[in-house]
C-alpha cells in the first residue's frame, strides 16, 4: 500500500477551524419538537420519525452512568444536535465546497482515496458531504453509501438491522443517539464477495457546541470479507462538543470484518461512542483502535460471539495527555462453543493524563471449549499521570482456556540512559521507547495511519521533557 501525504501532518491541521457556516443548525437542547424538526429536515420516513421520538422517551428515563469518568459538565441544553452543512452529498471532490474540501485535503483523505482505498465517505458536522466507491465493487453488489440514503433506498435491510445490535435501551447516550442520529455510513457486502482494499469513512466536526451522532451499519454477508476504516477529528473550541456515534456490525457465517479506527478528536470533546458486533458461525471480527483525542472518552467496543467457532481480536492503544481521561476497553461475550477472543490493549499517559482499561470477558455456560486471552499494558511517562485496569471476567463454564495479564509501568530511566549513551537525545529516546511500546498496535494499522500515529506520538511528546 502506498504512503499518503499524511506523513506531513501536524496538530495544526486538526485545529484549523472553518467559519461556522451551515445551512441549518437546530436549536440547542432536546425536546420532541426539536426531534420532529430534525426528522423533517432529514426527510425521515414515518417509521424513523417514530423511532426517534421513542428513543427520546427512553433517553429521558435513563440515568447517566454512575461509574467511570465524571461527565456532569455535559449540559444537553447547550448542545446543538443537528448541524447541516451548506452542501449536498457529492460524488466528486470537485463539487465539495472549497473550505470543506480544503479541510479533507489537509487531512489527506482525497489523496488516500486515490492511492489505497476502494471507497471513501466524508462527513462534515451532521451530514455526509462526499461518498464514492470503485465501480467494480458496485458491480459486485457492494453497497457503500451514507446512512440516510440507505434508509430511503434499502428500507428492508435497514429496518431489520438498525439499532437491533445496539438497542436504544443500552444506555443513555445510545438512546440520545437513536433520537438525533444523523449521517454515517452503510455498507453491505454480498455473499462471498471479498473487498480486498479498505473502505474508509472520515468524520469531521467543525461546528462549536454541537454534537456528532453518526450511525455506521455494516453487514458482511456469508463468506464475504471487508476492511473498514474510520477516522475522526475536530478543531478545538472552548466549549464542550459531544460525539455519541453508534456502530453496528453484523458478521455473518464464515465472513470476516476488520474495523480500524483512528480517533483524534480535539481535547474539548466528550466521546461517548458505542460499537458492537454480532459474529456468527466461524466468522471473525478484528478491531484495531487508536484513541488519541477527546477530553473524556468512554468507549468499549463489544463482540458478541453468537456462532460456533466465532472469533474476535481486539488491538487497541490509547494515549492520554494533560486534562484527558480516556476510559476505554473491550467487551466480549462468548455465546457458543469453540469461540475465541484475543485482546491486546496498551495505554500511554503523560502530563497528568488518565488512562483506564475497563473490560468484560463473559464466557457463558454453553460456550465450552472456548478460549480467551487478555493482555493489557500501561506506560506512564511521569509521576503525575494515572493508569488503571478494571477487568471483569465472568467465566461460567469450566471447559475454557482463559488468561489475563496486566502490566503497569513507568518509562525506564535506565532505558533512556542506554539510548542516550548512543548519541540519541532524551526527547528522541523517550519517543523511541513509546513508539516501540506502541509498535505491536501501530503495525496493525493501515500504513498511512501508522505513520500518522507515530507523528502524533512525536507531537504529543514534544516539549514533554523536563
Amino acid at each position: 500500500m502506498a504512503k499518503t501525504n499524511l506523513k506531513e501532518i501536524n496538530r495544526n491541521i486538526y485545529d484549523i477551524k472553518n467559519k461556522d457556516e451551515y445551512e441549518f443548525k437546530i436549536k440547542k437542547g432536546l425536546t420532541p419538537e426539536i426531534i420532529e424538526e430534525i426528522a423533517k429536515q432529514k426527510n425521515d420516513p414515518e417509521w424513523m420519525k417514530e423511532f426517534r421520538l421513542k428513543a427520546l422517551e427512553v433517553y429521558n428515563k435513563l440515568e447517566l452512568p454512575t461509574w467511570g469518568p465524571d461527565i456532569s459538565e455535559l449540559n444537553m441544553d447547550e448542545i446543538a444536535t443537528y448541524v447541516k452543512p451548506k452542501t449536498k452529498i457529492n460524488d466528486s471532490w470537485e463539487d465539495v465546497p472549497e473550505d470543506i474540501k480544503n479541510t479533507f485535503d489537509k487531512l489527506g483523505i482525497p489523496e488516500a482515496e486515490k492511492k489505497s482505498l476502494a471507497g471513501v465517505g466524508a462527513q462534515y458536522d451532521s451530514e455526509v458531504v462526499y461518498h464514492s466507491m470503485r465501480e467494480d465493487l458496485k458491480k459486485q453488489g457492494v453497497i457503500y453509501t451514507d446512512m440516510e440514503t440507505a434508509v430511503r433506498e434499502y428500507p428492508e435491510l435497514v429496518k431489520k438491522h438498525f439499532m437491533k445490535c445496539v438497542p436504544v435501551t443500552d444506555h443513555k447516550f445510545v438512546a440520545l443517539h437513536g433520537a438525533v442520529w444523523s449521517g454515517g455510513s452503510f455498507v453491505y457486502v454480498p455473499k462471498n464477495v471479498k473487498v480486498d482494499i479498505p473502505l474508509q469513512s472520515y468524520f469531521r466536526l467543525n461546528s462549536p457546541e454541537s454534537g456528532q451522532f453518526e450511525h455506521t451499519l455494516i453487514i458482511v454477508d456469508e463468506g464475504a470479507s471487508l476492511h473498514f476504516i474510520e477516522g475522526c477529528s475536530a478543531p478545538k473550541y472552548n466549549k464542550v462538543n459531544l460525539h455519541a456515534g453508534c456502530v453496528e456490525l453484523y458478521v455473518k457465517e464464515n465472513a470476516y470484518l476488520r474495523y480500524s479506527t483512528i480517533e483524534n478528536w480535539s481535547k474539548n470533546m466528550l466521546n461517548l461512542n458505542t460499537k458492537k458486533a454480532i459474529v456468527e458461525k466461524n466468522a471473525q471480527i478484528d478491531w484495531v483502535t487508536g484513541s488519541f483525542g477527546s477530553k473524556i472518552s468512554m468507549l468499549y467496543p463489544m463482540s458478541i460471539l453468537n456462532g460456533e467457532g466465532a472469533k474476535t481480536e481486539y488491538t487497541g492503544i490509547s494515549f492520554a495527555g494533560k486534562g484527558q481521561n480516556l476510559d476505554t476497553g473491550f467487551k466480549v461475550i462468548h455465546n457458543n462453543k469453540n469461540t475465541s477472543s484475543v485482546v491486546n490493549a496498551k495505554s500511554i499517559s503523560k502530563n497528568g493524563g488518565k488512562c483506564t482499561y475497563r473490560s468484560l470477558v463473559r464466557i457463558n455456560e454453553n460456550a465450552q471449549n472456548s478460549k480467551s486471552s487478555v493482555s493489557c499494558e500501561s506506560l506512564m511517562l511521569d509521576n503525575i499521570s494515572i493508569s488503571d485496569t478494571i477487568p471483569v471476567n465472568d467465566i461460567r463454564t469450566d471447559e475454557v482456556e482463559f488468561s489475563h495479564e496486566a502490566k503497569i509501568g513507568k518509562i525506564s530511566d535506565k532505558a533512556i540512559f542506554y539510548l542516550m549513551s548512543r548519541g540519541i537525545s532524551e526527547e528522541d529516546a523517550k519517543a523511541m521507547i513509546v513508539r516501540g511500546f506502541a509498535y505491536p498496535i501501530s503495525k496493525e494499522l493501515p500504513v498511512e495511519y501508522a505513520v500518522e500515529m507515530n507523528q502524533l506520538i512525536n507531537l504529543e511528546l514534544e516539549g514533554s521533557i523536563g
Binding site: 525506564s412 530511566d413 535506565k414 532505558a415 540512559f417 542506554y418 539510548l419 542516550m420 549513551s421 548512543r422 548519541g423 540519541i424 537525545s425 532524551e426 528522541d428 529516546a429 523511541m432 521507547i433 513508539r435 516501540g436 511500546f437 506502541a438 509498535y439 505491536p440
Partner: protein, 247 residues
C-alpha cells in the same frame, strides 16, 4: 598533552546519597588500552556511568576532560556524540525497535551525517560474521529475549559500527563462556587502532588473556590504589585483591 584523550581529575561521585568514588585520577592517551580492576562494590561501574554522566549518579567534586574539553556536566547524548561509547554490563531491552533500525539511528545521531545504507549494511554484515552473530537478530527487537552472550556481542557490534574515539567496556566479559569471550576479544582487537582508546572495566582477568593492555589500575573502595602494566593483572589473578584492601 596533545595525546591525551581522557583525563579524570579528583572525581568524587555519589550514588543514592552514598559516596562511591572518593577521588579518582586517570589519564588515557590516544591508542592506549587501560583496565580498571577491582572487587565487587569498589566503584567500577560507577566510574563508567560517571564518565557518561548518568543522572542516577551525582558528581560532587572533580572534573572530566575529553580532548581538552570539560565534559563533566554535559548530557549523556552530547558526550556520546563527542566520541565516547559504553558497552553495558546489562544492556537494556527495548521492545518494538529493531536492532538494525536502532543501529542506523544511533549511527546517524553520533556521526551527525546521513547513513549510507548500502555501505552500512555491508559493514554490519561483515562485523556480524566476525562476531558469530545470527543475522536474524538484526530484525528482532533490541536485546529483547537475547541471551547474555547475544547481548554482549550486540554491544560490541554497536561499538564497531559507531567507531568511537574511546570505548568503555563495563564487565563485557562477565557471564560469558570461553568461546564467547574469545569472540568478544576478537571484536575488541578489530576496534583497536592507533587512534582509538579503550577502557576495560572488569573484576576478573579472563578477558585479559587474549588482549594486550597498556595499563592496569586497581580500584578499591572508590580509589585507585595501584597502577601497573599487564603483569599487575597476572599478579591479581594469582593473589586476589586482599593485599590492596587495607591500603
Amino acid at each position: 598533552m596533545k595525546n591525551s584523550i581522557l583525563e579524570i581529575k579528583n572525581l568524587h561521585v555519589n550514588a543514592k546519597e552514598k559516596e562511591i568514588l572518593k577521588g579518582i585520577d586517570l589519564k588515557i592517551n590516544k591508542g592506549e588500552t587501560h583496565v580498571i580492576m577491582g572487587p565487587n562494590g569498589s566503584g567500577k561501574t560507577t566510574t563508567a556511568n560517571a564518565i557518561l554522566n548518568n543522572p542516577m549518579y551525582q558528581k560532587t567534586m572533580g572534573q572530566i576532560i575529553f580532548e581538552q574539553e570539560d565534559i563533566t556536566n554535559l548530557k549523556t547524548d552530547e558526550i556520546a556524540r563527542k566520541g565516547i561509547f559504553m558497552s553495558f554490563q546489562l544492556p537494556e531491552e527495548i521492545p518494538g525497535i529493531s536492532v538494525t533500525n536502532f543501529l542506523k539511528y544511533a549511527k546517524n545521531k553520533t556521526t551527525m551525517q546521513p547513513v549510507k545504507v548500502f555501505q552500512f549494511k555491508e559493514e554490519v554484515k561483515k562485523y556480524m560474521e566476525e562476531l558469530n552473530m545470527n543475522p536474524k537478530n538484526m530484525e528482532r527487537s533490541l536485546n529483547v529475549g537475547f541471551s547474555g552472550g547475544e547481548k554482549k556481542k550486540n554491544e560490541i557490534l554497536q561499538m564497531l559500527i559507531l567507531n568511537p574515539k574511546l570505548a568503555i567496556l563495563d564487565e563485557t566479559d562477565s557471564g560469558l563462556d570461553v568461546d564467547a569471550i574469545k569472540t568478544v576479544s576478537k571484536g575488541i582487537e578489530m576496534f583497536k587502532t592507533k587512534e582509538n582508546s579503550i577502557l576495560i572495566i572488569t573484576h576478573n582477568t579472563k578477558i585479559l588473556h587474549s588482549l594486550k593492555v597498556d595499563y592496569v589500575h586497581v580500584l578499591v573502595d572508590g580509589k585507585i590504589v595501584k597502577t601497573g602494566d599487564q603483569s599487575l593483572a597476572k599478579e591479581i589473578e594469582e593473589n586476589g585483591y586482599n593485599k590492596y584492601k587495607n591500603i
